[in-house]
């Protein structure tokens, strides 16, 4: 009976928490909040709410906490240094998704109506969550930005008005990789007869680039072998035995998390040159190479931004954010790949907010306004230098048709202690990628019964 008493107490506590939660949920009823936005004087219109979906636990925690941390630090920097954007303070709230789709959806629904105008934009930081939010965000008219991940065919703005896989996508990346190989080998004609192994996670994400590589193999006459890495990829010995037999010239490392690290050790064992292993940008962080030790030296990956602390914006963060003990991550990680990627998230988001403010006034920005801004984004080299991010990222220009906005990629090499950039920005084969995106998005539109937009105002 004592046990039952204890249980009852536990239940009571749970019920109370549930009540709290209910209250929290009801507080931000959609109609209510929009009504408040129109009339309520106490709702801070000069505060811009920004939701942060993050994962600080689980196998991919370095990515989640790194990007989330960099993103938040950049927002704090704008508040501390500039007093927000045009006087509008940035307010953000974190929600832990644990890299779990259901939790991600809950976070989205929890945060989407917060703030004066609701959430302006979401970065899901997970391909699974991006998929899960496509229907919802389109219905709620809140843009989703997936920087360097997510749904590749969403680059087609005519079918996905609210989804923005900005800067670059996986297909662009792979065309850039092949171009890098051509450059290194000394011309596109050298590709002929070359053997390339595409080592990819046996997973929708991992398999996504198979069609583009097949097409390019046909175009340039190289031979591509797709070797699937069985999930979770902690043991890839049998794959490298095959690679030993195939004797390829290049190996593409398309993995995520632990499965990025394992190939480096395996390559070292069979003495496969590490500078001929080309990683996807999700296999190109310090966290991926450090556990591999010496085996990682020379390893090359793609990236779409710069690494290190030698950018004015990173220095500003160190000064204004960490100098005042307002950082959101361990200071040792500032300047790392994931961290800087987070800063890019911040730059893209806030620049879009700035653009939206120029049209709608200096106040909090809502989803549809943000959508307009994201379709008219033009971050030039000059603007990047102004922001202290010259060379940190490539210029970005989007349109209502093109939600990618550039696709520029650069290579980086691990020298044993840090990432060193290799050459400049590489242009992807936009024509090839564009055709494939159209094909894929047309299928989506057909299945979902969507009529593609024919002018910017459609379907908004």
């Amino acid at each position: 009976m004592q046990a039952t008493g204890k249980t009852l107490r536990v239940l009571l506590a749970l019920a109370l928490t549930a009540g709290l939660m209910l209250a929290a949920g009801c507080e931000k009823d959609p109609q209510q909040s929009s009504a408040e936005a129109d009339t309520g004087p106490d709702v801070a219109d000069n505060e811009q709410f920004i939701p942060i979906l993050i994962y600080r636990t689980g196998p991919f925690a370095p990515g989640g906490s790194g990007i989330g941390g960099g993103y938040e630090d950049y927002l704090v920097l704008l508040n501390e240094r500039d007093g927000g954007i045009n006087g509008v303070k940035l307010v953000f709230e974190e929600c832990e998704t644990a890299y779990n789709t259901d939790r991600g959806v809950e976070c989205y629904e929890r945060l989407k109506n917060k703030g004066a105008k609701g959430a302006p934009v979401f970065h899901p930081l997970s391909t699974g969550i991006t998929y899960a939010l496509i229907d919802r965000a389109t219905r709620d008219k809140i843009p989703i930005i997936s920087l360097g991940y997510g749904r590749t065919d969403a680059s087609d703005g005519t079918v996905f008005p609210y989804i923005f896989p900005l800067i670059t996508n996986y297909w662009s990346q792979n065309t850039a990789k092949i171009r890098y190989i051509a450059q290194t080998e000394g011309g596109e004609d050298k590709l002929k007869g070359m053997k390339i192994v595409n080592l990819h996670l046996k997973h929708p994400y991992g398999q996504e680039t198979i069609p583009v590589l097949n097409k390019m193999a046909e175009m340039y006459g190289f031979e591509v072998t797709h070797l699937p890495v069985p999930w979770p990829g902690i043991d890839q010995k049998s794959l490298w035995l095959q690679i030993k037999k195939i004797k390829p010239d290049w190996v593409i490392n398309r993995n995520w998390g632990i499965s990025c690290t394992v190939p480096l050790r395996e390559a070292a064992r069979i003495d496969f040159p590490r500078n001929r292993v080309l990683g996807v940008w999700w296999c190109g962080s310090e966290e991926d190479v450090v556990p591999a030790g010496d085996a990682a030296t020379g390893y090359v990956t793609t990236n779409f931004h710069g690494v290190g602390k030698d950018y004015p914006v990173i220095q500003d963060i160190l000064e204004h954010v960490y100098g005042q003990m307002k950082g959101n991550i361990s200071p040792t990680r500032v300047g790392s790949v994931f961290y800087n990627r987070g800063v890019i998230h911040g730059i893209v988001t806030t620049e879009a907010i700035r653009l939206a403010q120029s049209k709608y006034g200096n106040r909090a920005i809502g989803g549809t306004e943000m959508q307009w801004a994201l379709e008219n984004l033009d971050i030039t080299e000059a603007r990047l230098i102004e922001l202290g991010a010259g060379g940190l990222m490539a210029p970005l220009k989007t349109s209502w048709r093109d939600h990618e906005g550039g696709g520029l990629v650069r290579m980086q090499q691990w020298d044993g202690t840090k990432w060193v950039p290799l050459g400049g920005w590489i242009k992807p084969d936009a024509e090839l990628v564009h055709g494939m995106i159209k094909e894929s998005s047309a299928k989506y539109a057909r299945e979902k019964g969507i009529t593609p937009r024919t002018k910017p105002e459609d379907g908004i």
Binding site: R56, P62, P228, P232, I234, S238, K245, P291
Partner: protein, 297 residues
């Protein structure tokens, strides 16, 4: 000839990999053997042990002392688990205990990463992961070392079970709980000792795999292979864990390499071990070396 050497290389790497699986499976076997608990938290214990050890080491403590400290930590953890989780759940159905170990695994993952963070750590114990020079086939020095450790571990455990007083007591318990209790063996002590032993095995597995993968959350995923090894060999057999590891390691590498090279069916390693184990179980429902559970009517 070249084909044959390649086949041998595939097979040998598979067998060596099998030892790595066995080390993980041993932890399960120990606990099932003495307390009948299917401990799902074994993977989290590997993470906890290895993360602790590597953090001590990085803090400047000498290697062996760090290992010793981690060992001590696992003993303390074992005692705590016995007191907080197992004792209140004694005599509950196996499924309930299984669920409790799932809860435990969440707790340990949170605890380990809460204390030591989520960043991966490199771990280099000084054995190069490179093949020996001059061999017809490539055999990694590290893998041979790992296999040696696995064999030592098994020999050590066998000696422990057969030659020491407490080891014999453990065997008595696994044979008959009530009988063991009636001759005055304390179940609490037994459970504490086995969980400490399992913690020790987890530390060894954590260090071996951590050298390979880096010490990070993904260490918890190594149980996925160990589970197949476990049912193939039999839940309560140390021999089974080793033989099962070798069978699964060897066969899955051969299957993966040849099916992938010649039939384009790659990535089957994620389930091959389970299918193989399932086929074996059709013939021997309690694994190759597991004790049959006899139902009396």
């Amino acid at each position: 000839m070249e084909e044959f050497l390649f086949f041998m290389e595939v097979l040998v790497s598979g067998l060596l990999q099998g030892f790595m699986y066995s080390v993980v499976a041993l932890g399960f076997v120990l606990i099932i053997k003495s307390s009948g608990v299917f401990n799902f938290a074994q993977g989290s214990m590997c993470l906890f042990a290895a993360l602790g050890m590597v953090s001590f080491w990085e803090a400047g403590i000498p290697f062996w002392l760090a290992v010793l400290l981690a060992l001590l930590m696992m003993v303390v953890l074992a005692v705590a688990i016995e007191r907080v989780v197992l004792r209140p759940l004694v005599a509950r159905p196996p499924l309930i205990l299984f669920m409790a170990t799932i809860g435990l695994s969440f707790f340990l993952e949170g605890l380990a990463q809460g204390i030591w963070g989520t960043q991966p750590h490199g771990l280099d114990i000084g054995i190069p992961d490179r093949p020996f020079k001059g061999f017809p086939i490539d055999v990694s020095q590290f893998e041979l070392f790992a296999a040696g450790v696995a064999i030592l571990l098994v020999v050590g455990l066998v000696i422990f079970f057969h030659r020491t007083r407490i080891g014999r007591a453990l065997r008595a318990v696994s044979d008959d709980h009530t009988a063991a209790l009636s001759v005055g063996i304390s179940l609490r002590m037994i459970w504490g000792v086995t969980w400490a032993l399992a913690g020790m095995v987890a530390l060894v597995a954590g260090i071996l795999w951590g050298t390979r993968l880096g010490v990070q959350y993904s260490l918890t995923l190594i149980v996925l292979k160990a589970l197949a090894v476990l049912i193939l060999g039999g839940f309560n057999s140390i021999t089974g864990a080793v033989v099962g590891g070798l069978i699964i390691g060897g066969s899955e590498k051969v299957a993966e390499v040849y099916l992938s090279l010649y039939f384009g069916l790659g990535g089957i390693e994620s389930f091959f071990g389970y299918l193989l184990a399932m086929l074996v179980l059709f013939v021997r429902p309690y694994g190759l070396f597991g004790d049959e559970i006899i139902e009396r009517v």
